[in-house]
């Protein structure tokens, strides 16, 4: 039984790493809702027995523990948070709009992020060029969707903004490190504007990870990936 410092004897714990953009989603969601919580930082090269007990299937962060109930997978956790703490909703009420928000969050994870990470950031030369082309196609869809809106969620930050949030900070840093630009002002003006809006929004702007640490980690990961790759 964990002793709680909160009035309601609520246990709310987030297992995260300092750099994981998936775990950051949970931090944002809880803080946007004004929910107080404890943080457990994990070293993902040396996972704690508790993490492995809480997430035996995927063995990843984030994990949310709420009064002994364990929830894994960031998008699943976000929906749980939205259903449990109803202030500042992350999803609209209307079923069709809700499905739209879920669609863009999933598109972000399945297509945008995976192709940018694996096929652009972790590649070089011709392979990277092909990855950039494919990513541009995906970014065009995001550009159309955000056009005329402050956030993907409309006037306020929603599920899709949180899922795509890494584009507004992590990607910018990685782009600068590599000297390339995916979301450029000319090609994607609405998406570029969203990046500014999101990165500087209250709560969001106070929780970004350390820039220099992120650069170091990224460079190490990229070199490891390129080292393992096939010869040019």
């Amino acid at each position: 039984m964990v002793e709680s410092k909160y009035n309601m004897a609520e246990e709310i714990k987030v297992f995260r790493s300092w750099s994981s953009p998936f775990a950051l989603r949970i931090i944002w969601a809880l803080k946007l809702k004004g929910v107080e919580f404890d943080t457990v930082y994990e070293d993902l090269t040396n996972k704690s027995p508790l993490l492995l007990q809480y997430n035996p299937i995927h063995k990843k962060v984030p994990v949310l523990v709420h009064n002994g109930k364990v929830i894994c997978e960031s998008l699943v956790i976000l929906e749980y948070i939205d259903e449990t703490w109803k202030q500042n909703p992350l999803l609209p009420e209307d079923p069709h709009q809700k499905s739209n928000a879920r669609f863009w969050a999933k598109f972000g994870d399945d297509k945008v992020s995976s192709s940018i990470w694996s096929d652009v950031l972790m590649k070089e030369g011709k392979e990277q060029e092909e990855g950039i082309s494919a990513s541009m196609e995906n970014l065009k869809y995001l550009e159309e969707e955000i056009r005329g809106k402050k956030f993907f969620g409309g006037e306020t930050i929603g599920l899709a903004d949180i899922a795509l949030g890494w584009l507004a900070y992590h990607l910018v840093i990685f782009e600068e490190t590599l000297g390339l630009k995916l979301i450029d002002q000319e090609k994607f003006p609405s998406l570029a504007a969203w990046k500014q809006e999101f990165a500087n929004a209250p709560i969001i702007r106070e929780n970004w990870p350390d820039r220099d640490k992120l650069v170091t980690k990224f460079v190490v990961m990229r070199e490891a990936n390129l080292g393992k790759g096939t010869p040019k």
Partner: protein, 220 residues
């Protein structure tokens, strides 16, 4: 509502399409089924799913919903007066979403590798597939369905893949029932329900479809 216009853009053999058919059947929703040609995609499909250009797509009063599990959740929310597919408690809902996501991450991809790969890659896929089914068996426990006493979200996510098991077994030369008898018993139990049996396709027909695809991709 009597004035509801519901159309499902689908492909008969798609387990993702079957999920939507099953959800609509559980809710007793009347709809128009529109079989799609994925080689020559229709203008309607491209209009309703411009991003992925895939099926299934649910069109409800002119508005499209894409991605099978997103559609199933939409169906649950739009027709909320009957047969809830997700539990009402947020933690139970999170558990259902976790396991449906697990089915998405594991069963389709590993199953696909079984019928498209050979040698070591195929063996690895078979092992991963069986391991995943065993984890699902563990989650099912002693319940008749993942949804408890009635069919729910995880059942809808999973059971359509049963129609592809025969194709996986035949192309992969292994026996799923020998490794996961509980899973097969569960699938057969589901099929006893009319909503399931009328939403799922004949495994032998699915196998013929896979043979056709293998020839087309030069895998035979």
């Amino acid at each position: 509502m009597a004035s509801d216009q519901v159309t499902l853009l689908d492909l008969w053999a798609s387990p993702f399409g079957m999920r939507v058919r099953l959800a609509l059947a559980e809710k007793g929703v009347k709809y128009e089924y529109s079989e799609q040609d994925l080689v020559n995609k229709s203008a309607l499909l491209l209009q309703m799913n411009p991003v992925h250009k895939k099926i299934p797509v649910l069109v409800h009063n002119g508005k499209p919903v894409c991605e099978s599990l997103i559609i199933v959740q939409y169906i649950d929310e739009a027709w909320k007066d009957k047969a809830p597919l997700l539990p009402s408690d947020p933690y139970q809902r999170a558990q259902s979403r976790f396991w449906a996501d697990f089915v998405d991450k594991k069963i389709y991809d590993l199953g696909r590798k079984i019928w498209t790969e050979k040698g070591e890659d195929q063996e690895a896929a078979k092992k991963g597939f069986i391991d995943s089914l065993k984890l699902l068996e563990g989650e099912l426990g002693d319940k008749p369905y993942f949804g408890g006493e009635t069919i729910g979200y995880v059942d809808i996510a999973l059971v359509p893949f049963y129609t592809w098991f025969y194709a996986y077994e035949t192309t992969g030369n292994f026996n799923i029932e020998a490794e996961c008898p509980k899973m097969i018993a569960y699938c057969k139990r589901c099929l006893q329900k009319e909503t399931v049996s009328k939403s799922l396709e004949d495994p032998k027909k699915v196998y013929d479809f896979v043979v056709m695809l293998r020839k087309k991709f030069g895998l035979e």
